[in-house]
Symmetry: C2
Subunit: 321 residues, 2 copies
């Protein structure tokens, strides 16, 4: 008997993971390769092809290869391109799907990391059965994927759902994007560190953070200190949750989701972030929405979530090219 398998590929700045996934969300086989910055996109795809072939040869069962789903920074689902991705050094715009189609004349789909996380959550995670939800990825930056009426929202530009760049304060912190006061300048691993620094500058509250070199302060360290009861670290988490709650209340007023999932490194702070964010969001919610939205942790496995999500793009026929 043949089994249906989709290939999920997760392209990151350092490594690219890939794996074959069946319709139930079981990862059958996976591997990875480095995403070297010294080569062209063509050369990268040639190496990727070799890895796919090796992986496919090693599959333990007869199978039907359904297609390839890809998560990549700055991917455009409609055009099949990766555009101006700062960590990939492949130039202005790479027609990634065309490069892949030279090797595999199969259905393909590509989108950014946060949309992949949303697709994974919907097909294999905690959003199963939900028609309206948002996934927020909290890593170095803040990404988001919005599902409305059971479909990923791409919008007219193809780039809908960039909640990292809604404005908290138009005169606020400098953001890496060139604007001021963007949400990800406050709510992200780096945002948390900046908030801790700002608190240390305003208050005399003692904290082990004062004995650290500023560039050594990480969100992980702040998390550990908060768990240990450090006042500055706890305050930094509380302020992060308040700003996230405020802007998630805005998001609800746009698309009215059933749930908002928090995932990524900073979301691992769990109860230090999720409950306070929900509390603040409810304070800022317009009354018709109160009690209609849950803040939830991701239901995807931490290691291979991105590969499963990329495969979900194919298994559920998201934007197929």
């Amino acid at each position: 008997m043949q089994i249906d398998l989709a290939l999920g590929i997760d392209i990151g700045g350092t490594n690219t993971g890939l794996g074959f996934v069946d319709r139930s969300g079981t990862l059958i086989a996976s591997t990875f390769l480095s995403t070297q910055s010294g080569e062209t996109a063509d050369q990268f795809v040639a190496r990727l092809h070799q890895q796919i072939e090796n992986l496919q040869d090693a599959l333990p069962m007869p199978h039907r290869f359904l297609g390839i789903g890809i998560g990549a920074p700055n991917a455009h689902a409609g055009r099949g391109t990766i555009e101006q991705a700062p960590n990939l050094h492949w130039g202005e715009k790479v027609d990634f799907i065309s490069l892949m189609k030279k090797y595999y004349p199969l259905p393909m789909a590509i989108t950014n990391d946060a949309n992949v996380a949303a697709a994974g959550e919907m097909i294999f995670g905690h959003a199963r059965g939900m028609k309206h939800f948002i996934v927020i990825t909290l890593g170095t930056g803040l990404g988001s994927g919005i599902v409305a009426d059971g479909r990923l929202l791409y919008g007219a530009s193809g780039f809908a759902g960039e909640l990292g760049h809604v404005t908290v304060n138009p005169d606020g912190r400098q953001c890496a994007c060139g604007k001021k006061g963007c949400l990800e300048a406050y709510v992200s691993a780096t945002g948390l560190v900046r908030t801790a620094l700002a608190l240390l500058s305003r208050q005399y509250t003692p904290s082990p953070l004062r004995s650290m070199a500023i560039q050594e302060i990480t969100s992980q360290r702040i998390f550990e200190l908060a768990r240990g009861g450090d006042a500055v670290a706890l305050d930094a988490f509380d302020r992060t949750a308040r700003i996230l709650g405020l802007k998630l209340a805005d998001a609800v007023a746009h698309v009215s989701p059933e749930a908002i999932f928090l995932t990524g490194g900073l979301a691992a702070a769990g109860e230090l972030l999720i409950r306070p964010t929900e509390k603040y969001m409810n304070e800022f919610l317009f009354r018709v929405y109160r009690g209609t939205v849950k803040i939830l942790p991701s239901g995807m496995p931490p290691g291979h979530g991105a590969i499963l999500g990329a495969a979900a793009l194919i298994i559920n026929d998201f934007k197929i090219l």
Copy 2:
């Protein structure tokens, strides 16, 4: 030959308009009745039924009655209800579609005023051919209807798209909804008046507004003064446009529309509001969206837009009950 006609009904706090509309958006016949607050919803629907019968009897051609589309404050499209509408005095929740179905066993649809405006814009107005757009209604308050992938967005609660209640400033102006700093406390006819007052309190700038009783100051008067070059009135419009531009940039980061239409009383200020709003929005937009969004005036006729929009709900098979 029979002609297909949909009935559009626009329920307001004072008057209810109704009219038969053909597939091309021509209003064939219309009338109105008062929306008396002294009667129950049952009694109102009985009177409405009589008016529909009169209107139908007077129609000059044989026709097929396609169905009834209704715009009403606080309408829930999925449940067919009008809930807690402050100006209608019909109690907590009225199952309006059920009341109507007693008289007419026809396809029906109901939604709020801003969604009706969006449906009208999409079928008969300037959004024809657009899959992703937002309509902002600027009257006493601020309403919004969001179309994504060619469909009105209702979300999990059925109340998606309440941009009047996104937060400009969590410590800002009191809003009628009970929250603080909502967009409609700044950007609306009443918000414009409050902004003018705030400016008069902060500056010594002379203005004819200083000789008026505060409760006599209207958005219309500020508009006339702005056209005449009054510095306070011009500043009030500029600040209104900046706040609207800021929050529309946030809206773009959610749903990435092709266009945002401004309609309603305050939108009649035209170039005093539309161009500055677009300028500020572009300043606050994340780079991937720059140049992808237009701010446009409504393409609906001013008098009967709401009746046409309500009929469009039926003509284009929006959420049919």
